[in-house]
């Protein structure tokens, strides 16, 4: 699978983290390094339930003026994942594509609903899948019921609506179909930062690697995303992800199967 990252970092960004990408054959031509710049920085404090948090500090730094440039060789990418940034940045990436992607996935958050709703609605109208958390789905739709919220959001554009509920799992809506995957119950959640990103990456990565955008395959992608997120929260930052092997991933997928699969004969 040929994939690339488009992003921006400062000179302070550790080379070893870039190596994590190139070691895995991920193209980083599209990662701009701003001379003398500082990388985006966030710190926060999680509440006891690990599902809510307070931001202590956000420094946009080089992200403030990010102008994403999609590398020439990736302008015909079939699968595009738009990470959680200003909707105009997300739109700019879509506009640079020479061919309409087979699947465009959008991640966003309440911050953009508060300060850039019109732009956000424009990009939402152009994507196939949106991933969003439960509170944000409620805010965006004005509906408390997640079933109704998903229906309203689907009317804004995306055929597939993924609602992330943190430790309570994730829902995938498509027309009248619903699929649900729980989060793996863990003894300890060490650091939930990035769990949603890991989920979105695992979800989209699985679809890209299988090149199948059917609902059945998206169900598998939801399970793969949840599975990877269950690792991400066990250590700080990307620490847990670095040592992952296919065996470890598969053996935890088996736990997902045991957790959710049952056999009821309805005849």
């Amino acid at each position: 699978m040929d994939s690339a990252v488009v992003s921006v970092i400062g000179e302070d960004f550790p080379q070893e983290y870039l190596d994590l990408l190139t070691d895995r054959n991920i193209n980083i031509e599209g990662v701009e390094i701003v001379e003398g710049g500082k990388t985006f920085f966030w710190s926060g404090k999680y509440h006891n339930d690990m599902n809510s948090r307070d931001t202590l500090e956000t420094q946009l730094n080089v992200l403030a003026d990010f102008n994403p440039i999609v590398p020439e060789n990736y302008k015909d990418a079939e699968i595009v994942m738009l990470g959680n940034l200003h909707p105009l940045v997300q739109l700019s990436v879509l506009e640079q594509m020479s061919v309409k992607p087979k699947l465009a996935v959008l991640d966003t958050m309440n911050f953009w609903m508060d300060c850039a709703l019109d732009d956000l609605l424009k990009v939402i109208a152009k994507v196939d899948v949106i991933t969003i958390n439960d509170e944000e789905a409620r805010q965006l739709s004005g509906e408390y019921s997640l079933v109704r919220a998903a229906k309203k959001i689907a009317k804004m554009g995306p055929k597939f609506v993924v609602i992330k509920k943190g430790e309570h799992g994730a829902l995938l809506f498509n027309d009248d179909h619903v699929f649900f995957a729980p989060a793996l119950p863990l003894e300890e959640v060490f650091d939930p930062t990035g769990a949603g990103d890991t989920f979105a990456g695992g979800f989209t990565g699985y679809i890209a690697s299988t090149n199948d955008i059917s609902f059945e395959n998206m169900k598998r992608a939801i399970v793969h995303g949840s599975n990877l997120a269950s690792f991400a929260v066990e250590k700080f930052g990307v620490e847990r992800m670095i040592g992952l092997t296919k065996d470890k991933v598969n053996s935890r997928l088996k736990r997902f199967q045991e957790l959710t699969q049952f056999d009821i004969d309805l005849h």
Copy 2:
């Protein structure tokens, strides 16, 4: 399946509700009607999320002096479900059994942890299954993680620990095995009162009707309990349950399958 209810009501209890039981061949010999007494009464107000509520009024009435008498013919019942009442009332039922039941299921709540913990621990030590909600599991165990909470509670006696998470589903723990069933995502939750009781009844009723206490069958029982609870919340009181048919129940079970079942090849 031969089953009976042991309970207490006042003279104000509507005959038509008793008929609902006898019409379904449920023995009500053990339902004591206190002359001149008033039935237990509760009213409350649900918050917007329908997962939390404030009690407006609780009148224990005839429940205050309830002395349960298990009918002679049911003292050898194989499956016993102890509803959420004072642990001494629950213990008294167990002590009246002439044969140790194949499976005893206990439902309880935080109220008894606050005011009758010692008695509660005694009855917990004697049962095979406990059903309890997430906050109560945390209170009883002193552990935030539900995985750890379930392990601690299992050490108190019950081989099977069921943790109910309301709209976020239910977990079944048994040794190192975990199973999870989500609540069916609904457009509208009308009245969640009794959802937990419906779940416990559906869970235990399924085990009784199949006479199989294996973990595999308990998974099915969890799904059946969740399925029935999803009906219960759609109307006020038992209204939605009264009109239920096997077809309606089965067609919703199919929705549970679609909601949760996936197919990942790990080889």
